[in-house]
């Protein structure tokens, strides 16, 4: 099975959206602040519903927040 890496622009988008705090994003998406921290640092890959909730909070598409890169590419 091919292994890949999930990158994200959550931190960038937070700052572009009125310097939203991690706690504000966590409250808007219904998760704890620790989960937002883990997502931002790439330690945790969110489920699809959570990825959509994060994208909708910023008013962008999921692929604008998360990018999947194959090791081969």
């Amino acid at each position: 099975m091919a292994k890949g890496e999930l990158n994200n622009k959550v931190r960038r988008l937070r700052f572009d959206n009125g310097e939203m705090t991690q706690q504000q994003l966590a409250d808007a998406t219904g998760v704890t602040r620790q989960t937002i921290i883990a997502i931002e640092s790439g330690k945790y890959a969110p489920s699809l519903p959570l990825a959509f909730r994060i994208a909708r909070t910023f008013g962008v598409r999921v692929e604008d927040v998360f990018q999947y890169e194959d090791e081969d590419s």
Partner: protein
């Protein structure tokens, strides 16, 4: 810290507290062969327990934000892995306490029945310790999860 982390810390503190509470009379009665002396009077012991429980409830109920959920999908995943680690540890501990008496008292030896209660309690506390440590390790050492 979120509720899952705080619960794990609470379990860890309870484990250490239980070890002290159980070890003191056990050592006193079965090794020193004398009845244990009380540190506090009955009233002060009750007050100490009450303060411990009240402080724990306040610690567990305090939220980072009013809208914070009790747990989310990542907490579920972390707890699931910790339960598996705890379950595996129960089997390892039970296998251990089944084999060790064979070497301590021999194959035809016997152990008192009351020792089974201590063994069961020990296995339960061991599983609790493994669960708490597994949760805290997954959140990252110092419980901060890379924040700050």
């Amino acid at each position: 810290m979120n509720k899952t982390q705080k619960s794990a810390i609470f379990c860890l503190v309870t484990f250490l507290f239980a070890v002290v509470v159980i070890a003191y009379p056990f050592i006193s009665i079965f090794i020193l062969k004398s009845w244990p002396e009380s540190f506090f009077s009955r009233i002060w012991s009750m007050i100490a327990y009450f303060v411990f429980i009240a402080a724990s409830i306040i610690f567990l109920r305090k939220k980072q934000s009013p809208n914070e959920p009790d747990f989310d999908e990542r907490d579920d995943l972390i707890k699931k892995r910790a339960v598996i680690a705890s379950f595996v540890s129960v089997w390892i501990l039970l296998a251990g306490v089944t084999v060790i008496p064979r070497f301590v008292v021999g194959i035809k030896g016997s152990i008192p029945v009351w020792l089974l209660s201590f063994i069961n309690l020990g296995v339960f506390l061991g599983a609790l310790l493994v669960y708490s440590v597994a949760v805290l390790i997954q959140y990252g050492w110092r419980g901060k999860d890379g924040e700050g």
